[in-house]
Subunit: 207 residues, 2 copies
Amino acid sequence: MPTDRSPTRIQKKNRATILEAALEVFSNHGFRGATVDQIAKAAGLSKPNLLYYFPSKEAIFTELLSGLLDTWLDPLRALDPDGDPLEEILAYVQRKLQMSRDFPRESRLFANEIVQGAPRMLDSLSKDLKPLLEEKSALITQWMDAGKLNRTHSKHLLFSIWSLTQHYADFDVQVRTLMEDEDPFDSAPQHLELMFRRLLAPDHIAG
Amino acid sequence: MPTDRSPTRIQKKNRATILEAALEVFSNHGFRGATVDQIAKAAGLSKPNLLYYFPSKEAIFTELLSGLLDTWLDPLRALDPDGDPLEEILAYVQRKLQMSRDFPRESRLFANEIVQGAPRMLDSLSKDLKPLLEEKSALITQWMDAGKLNRTHSKHLLFSIWSLTQHYADFDVQVRTLMEDEDPFDSAPQHLELMFRRLLAPDHIAG
DNA sequence: TCCTGATTTGACCAACTGGTCAAACTCACG
DNA sequence: CGTGAGTTTGACCAGTTGGTCAAATCAGGA
């Protein structure tokens, strides 16, 4: 087992390699569906060697989750109270859509976990996500009170943004099967822009 | 093994019981995460007895999938070319939302499978879902051509409906964690109605 | 009632899975 | 170089899992 001392070059490299491999495997098969052997193979290590760096399969998974959740929520944190409300939200939508295109494995990792009841994530949801949602949905409600946005249920609005954008990562196989000829990510930005602009633009200055 | 003859009373009952139990277990844990023992226990049968009615775990799963996909797509089939376009689509949205409330296990069963690449469903997607999507998205495009609906990408529109409505079943744990005090299904219908009405209403007769 | 096919089960098996361990090997540094 | 800590691995283990099988039990028509 690696000591408590500052990590060696090898430790740093191998832990990173393992987490990358784990992301690949866990996002494709879920926690239960993934095997330590699969992860080890994907990382180019033997199973005992992998377990030299992490005490258990569960430990890999939870470290991966908590490490990724933070960056996953960055776009929402970036919602700026001082920006133009409509443009802030539209930009958030596009940023989230970009993340579905660029980091689909992260999205599927969370999706897998939550669909199955989030047994290893409920804490993070209440502790990290909930306060952030409360803060930002309050901000959005303020914007609506000020007449800068058409009035909607601000929490459902955020759920809608998550749902619509992550759909393109989580259900990628289905979307691509049904859109053979066209890359979904070519037309999705326009579609979502239109959708949220018409929903939120005050007094119908819709695009 | 049951013979090819017409099923006995016991066969009918037990096969139905098993499929119900399998839905419960598979929707909560995914294919790999579910065990035959779990299903047998949930069905109140011994494992060998369960395997007397189905040849394998895989067979239970595929029969369950194909049996449910049909009814799952009924609301889309019901989209009526002769109805009022906007009301037809809004009604479809509400029907789908109802299904998320009333049959969340079915929704999660499909979600689990598709997030993991739909290894056992790709055929059904191309063979059953694709033609239906083509038919209905063509219908919607016609409606838009006729000026009955605001113009959008009709396939993305259908993806959006699926995504938004099924989100309340698939991500139920997350939604409820973040909405402690309120039942999501109380306010979701209004929210989605507003969303699609504003998106689709021609010349802005928005609600 | 009796008999035959349908149903149920305890015991079992081979493959897989997460994890352990002692021995071997490698690397950086004095 | 040599040496001790850091790293890697083959062999192994116990628990789980999907599935089999022969024997036991049950149901219903003649």
